[in-house]
């Protein structure tokens, strides 16, 4: 077991790190989405309509 671990420690470390990074990214993306932030290339804080984007626009003319 120890021999296997010493042979594959780099793979295990890399895989664990990758899984953690991906999980963190997904977690942050889900949290941002729940918070109403958009996964766009812009931070919604810089947008003039940042509050408006959380609710649908009022339907006007058909």
């Amino acid at each position: 077991m120890l021999a296997w671990l010493s042979e594959n420690w780099a793979n295990i470390l890399m895989i664990v790190l990758l899984v953690l990074i991906v999980a963190l990214i997904v977690f942050r993306m889900v949290r941002s989405r729940k918070a109403g932030k958009r996964p766009c290339g812009c931070d919604c804080a810089v947008c003039g309509a940042c509050c408006a984007c959380k609710k649908p626009a009022a339907k006007k003319e058909p």
């Binding site: 991906v22 958009r38 290339g41 408006a52």
Partner: protein, 762 residues
Amino acid sequence: MEGQIRIALAGNPNSGKTTLFNKLTGANQFVGNWPGVTVEKKEGKLIVDKDVVLTDLPGIYSLSPYTLEEVVARNYLIEENPDAILNIVDATNLERNLYLTTQLVELGIPVVIALNMMDLVKKAGDHINVKELSKQLGCKIVEISALKGDGVKEAAQAAIEAAQSGKTIPQHSFSGPVEHALAHIEEVTVHDLPEERQRWYAIKLFERDEKVMEGLKLSAETKAHIEKDIAAAEKEMDDDAESIITNERYVYIGQMLKGIYKKKGTGKLSISDKIDKIVTNRWLALPIFAIVMFLVYALSMGKSIADGGISIGTWLTDLTNDVLGEAWLTEGSRAILEGWGAAPWLVGLISDGILAGVGAVLGFVPQMLVLFLMLCLLEDCGYMARIAFIMDRIFRRFGLSGKSFIPMLVGTGCGIPGVMASRTIENERDRRMTIMTTTFMPCGAKMPIIGLIAGALFGGSTWIAVSAYFIGVAAIVLSGIMLKKTKMFAGDPAPFVMELPSYHLPAWGNVLRGTWERGWSFIKRAGTVIVISSIVIWFLTSFGVVNGHFGMVENLYEDDAIVTDEYVATVADRMDIPEDEVEPMDDSILARVAQPVSVVFKPLGFGDWKPTAATVTGLVAKEEVVANFGIMYAYDDQEGEEELEENGDQIWDRVAEDFNAFSNGHGRLAAFAFMIFNLLCAPCFAAIGAIKREMNSRKWTWFAIAYQCVFAWIAAFIVWQIGRVFAGGLSVVGLILALLLLGFVCWMLFRPYKESQKLTVK
């Protein structure tokens, strides 16, 4: 909240509200030099006193509910009833700004005036008797310069004191007949409301404000009663009620300012006016705009200064790519991982997948930062606001409004706020049309595509980046003209009133903040969406089925028992390439999926699975197009060995080689068509989501996406097919079809505009 003081920041558009808000709260709200930047209210706590909440309201000219901004601001002031209003007044436009002030003081909420840009007034040699103005208006006035930060703390302190103890009593009274009617209205309708609010409601009822009438739930009998009073005043003053109030306010302001505001050079042109005489000149405006934008793109994305050009951005990008591509990302990571004894597939995933994909995107950050810096400088000094004005003159000829151009200016950073900025357009048809066309502008995420094509195939030519911007503008103008001639969008253009701010030296704080915000958002996205996408793309390009065996295609291709000569011939036939050009990736999952789809792009010159895959994955995020190329070309198997390229440049050389290969030597033309399609086709999913929210209709969303894709396809088709007449290797059928499509576009552009005679704007 208990013990909190709420102060509303209200004022005209472009009077410096957001700058003052940022100064007082330490926030980083984006400051735009055109109206509509603040569509919704924003809140922040004062730096000096965390118990004070400051609300930045959208810029408004009045408290009439004509625009979305006015509705948002008015509802907040009436329903939330803040403790005080900090009314920011542009001292260089005193008369118009005070029109709003005369309405704010009628709300019964303590008002403090922050007289902004007093430094400019003094510089011009003008004089404002602030003490007398304060007395006349009945509220405290503090002189400030929001840009420099002078007097802002004092203004906030005055607002806090007013909230705690102050009371603003309107000093102004209307003429006899109006006051008579107002007294009647107050008595009949609003006597049970708080005393300090009664006058404002009475004035609004006099103006026949429908929203106020709805809110008060007046009976038909009461409405009829007050209508008699209004009609009597109208008859006596020979005007309609709303105009009476407007006129009286302006007469009052005019009389008040006579002894208070002394102008030194009345009638003389200011420096700003003199610049505008040239910059907004009927004939010079467009050439100047073209030159300015050429310089912006030449400096940020043109030929590098190292190659005899003027682009600092490209020079920095080349430098970054050398470091990112060679030292750290490729050789460095591979050497480290192999040294640790990591499995080859893991080395591939990290080096050729994640780092190659993310690195390809991040390599363009310097160019983007320089571009954003240039655009922010133009915005902050006041030039960009002129563009909307210039475009309004052109748009109006074709039945469009310059108001439609503001979202497009916003959209150069990211298409999503651009789409959302369309909310300021009241005319629903124009709004829908603007939403559909805004994303034609090359947003930040599309910059790497432009940089890639310009760098890899055109030797960093400045014209490619410049052309990308003007192709976006042209697509918007042409689409606007064509769509306006259809029944769906016909109608007279909405009036566009816009105040042009005076030119001033850019505030470096604003410029750097704007540049950083946009650049950082791009970097953040590379670290999230692009990382995940790169992993998926690496998997899809590395794994596949080779002759009935599933696994890593590179490994499977090493087994001669699996990859027989007959099998290679089958793959070559499937991919429509010579047998000696077959590579393992041709059997990857992505190649298998993308190859049939590539038929769609064959008539556009890039009907190969790689650009097809890049284009389709660009829907996830437009940066993904470049990330995709980074992953797909990270290998060099020309010698039959897998070896990572040494730096980014060589990867882009392979992209150029491939474009030349599948376009029969017309790589540049094919790449240009590829760039056009990717610039104009449907935006990323996030922007599509914004379109769906703003359209509030599934049908319109699909229509918008279909229109964008068809428009992009036709534009790229025409360029590729007609381009081949000059480049050689023309296809007669393709040329005829391209000419027919071009003819159709021209017919749409020049056919008479009939619908506007029948339809009116709602």
